[in-house]
């Protein structure tokens, strides 16, 4: 018997996120435009940094673990403004 392979979206949906209307992480795509290393794309465990076909990058803060990996691996000043979400919002772990 082999186990069913789940999609990344299903994987993320196993965690609870109380999304605040205001983004707690803001990515300046102008800075990212000429970043060739793109550390965030591989390292973000929630896969929130998605390269676009025109060489850009889109970021969505909603299903974020608030781990801090992205701002630590990114070497470009000003690319990521990072803070915690408003109290009571963001990820809520249950069996971790």
């Amino acid at each position: 018997m082999t186990d069913r392979i789940i999609s990344f979206q299903e994987r993320m949906d196993t965690a609870e996120f109380r999304v605040h209307h205001q983004a707690h992480i803001v990515v300046d795509s102008r800075v990212c435009a000429d970043c060739s290393t793109r550390e965030c794309v591989i390292a973000c465990p929630a896969n929130l940094f998605i390269p676009t076909s025109d060489g850009g990058l889109v970021f969505n803060y909603e299903q974020c673990f608030e781990c801090g990996t992205c701002y630590i691996v990114c070497n470009r000043e000003g690319a990521i403004s990072w803070s915690y979400p408003e109290g009571g919002h963001g990820v809520v772990f249950r069996r971790t």
Binding site: M1, D3, I6, F8, E10, R11, M12, T14, A15, R18, T37, E39, C40, I42, A43, P45, A46, N47, F65, E66, C67, G68, T69, I72, V73, S83, Y84, P85, E86, G87, G88, G90, V91, V92, F93, R94, R95, T96
Partner: protein, 435 residues
């Protein structure tokens, strides 16, 4: 200067913060414990084993009430190559009875429980509150925090920063020299559901007994390690990955976990288990190399916020270091407020306690261990070499006679491209660190 609202503000209701609050509140101080999550533990994840003996004095007979999953009575260390596995497996019945050794537990349960003790001691626990900055007097001393609540400033005689690995408070105060990606590992984990009887059978345990498996050689090109722990009716399987190495290659974290789960030695253990929760968190991995200044006028730093987590390969202990450092911070604050001196000198009892106890003693002893365990040789060359030695030791190759161990060792060392000099040096470093 405005008067303080309370004696002590503790930021972060993780194990460090709750233990600090328990000690300070029990001494009669007016304590507020601030937590950004909707309940203590809601933001926290880890591999899965707590070593709670440090609570013996703080919460006598803690084992009668602590929310644990299983008592760890079996501890294994596994070396993997793509097709081989070498396991050292230890079990002890003594670890299944009071005062126990380690236990698997969920952090949302564990942290919630500990924060309950802080509340019972008289601390005021305020959840849903994110601290966004420090309030300092003209001389630079910390005199309170800003929160994201309306009228959110809160002043205190002392602030204890227990705000975890990213500690924006310690960084804002300038206690860290800099943030370096190579000092951190990313942990990702899957909590999987499986019936209790199936877990008991697969892992050869009974009742509330459980297993802790640390794994080396399962993270491909990325230096790191893996783990597999048993909950009551769940498994925790995951990896920790060195950040710069992770970011410099092509495999995503969840793919590395998937690779581990497909390994022939792991797959039969996790087969059929359903994903219940996927999670991630950082670990301050570099111990003494990265530790910040622990105190400044008006503020102390404890737990992961002070990089006190011990991450030395087969040891991954942070919760006990957090609980202990929180306790010692609490004690030092009580002392300082009795003497009415919250200057660096007044708070010096904290550093002294850290130095005199396992907290910094273990870090000093295992100083070289994280670097050794995450080194390229230990990560990429030794597992294969050791597994091949074992395979040839146990292989019956008749009509060939059995080769001698020395010959096998030498041949496999050469085959792996390991220089004798490096092997001896690593062995000596390992012996000095762990011995």
């Amino acid at each position: 200067m405005s008067t303080p609202d309370v004696d002590v503000i503790v930021v972060g209701a993780g194990p460090a913060g709750s233990c600090a609050a328990i000690v300070a509140a029990r001494a009669g101080l007016d304590v507020v414990l601030l937590e950004r999550g909707p309940f203590p533990g809601s933001k926290n994840m880890y591999g899965g084993v707590v070593y709670p003996r440090i609570l013996d004095t703080l919460i006598p007979n803690w084992w009668e009430e602590a929310p644990i999953q299983r008592w760890v009575t079996r501890r294994s260390t596994m070396l993997l190559t793509d097709t081989q596995a070498l396991t050292i497996d230890f079990r002890s019945e003594a670890w299944g009875e009071p005062p126990y050794n380690g236990a698997t537990a969920f952090r949302p349960d564990w942290d919630h429980w500990l924060a309950g003790h802080a509340e019972a001691a008289g601390a005021q626990v305020l959840t849903d509150t994110t601290v966004v900055g420090l309030i300092r007097d003209p001389g630079g001393a910390v005199v309170g925090v800003r929160t994201d609540r309306p009228d959110g400033d809160l002043r205190a005689k002392v602030v204890i920063a227990c705000d975890g690995v990213n500690s924006f408070l310690a960084k804002e105060a300038g206690l860290y020299e800099h943030t370096d990606a190579k000092h951190y590992t990313l942990g990702v984990k899957e909590t999987l559901a499986l019936p209790k009887e199936v877990i008991d059978e697969r892992f050869a345990v009974r009742d509330r007994h459980g297993v802790d498996i640390e794994i080396l050689g399962c993270t491909g090109n990325v230096n790191g390690g893996g783990f597999l722990y048993t909950g009551l009716d769940t498994l925790a399987v995951g990896v920790v990955l060195k950040l710069p190495k992770l970011a410099a290659q092509k495999k995503r974290p969840e793919e590395i976990v998937a690779g581990l789960k497909q390994h022939p030695a792991i797959a039969p253990l996790v087969q059929g288990a359903e994903l219940k929760e996927y999670s991630a968190h950082l670990i301050p991995e570099a111990g003494l190399t990265m530790m910040p200044k622990m105190t400044m006028p008006g503020m102390l730093v404890a737990g992961d916020a002070a990089a006190l987590c011990l991450a030395a390969g087969i040891w991954l202990e942070g919760v006990n270091f957090a609980m202990a450092s929180g306790m010692y911070a609490g004690e030092a604050v009580v002392e300082a407020l009795q003497a009415n001196d919250t200057s660096a000198t007044g708070l010096a009892g904290y550093q002294r306690r850290l130095s005199d106890t396992f907290v910094l003693k273990d870090h000093r002893k295992l100083h070289r261990a994280p670097e050794l365990v995450l080194s390229d040789r230990v990560q990429h060359l030794y597992p294969g070499m050791v597994a091949n030695v074992a395979e040839r030791m146990f292989r019956v190759d008749n009509p060939h006679p059995k080769p001698g161990l020395r010959r096998i060792l030498n041949e496999e060392r050469k085959k792996a491209g390991v220089r004798r000099r490096d092997l001896l040096r690593d062995g000596w470093t390992g012996f000095r660190s762990f011995g």
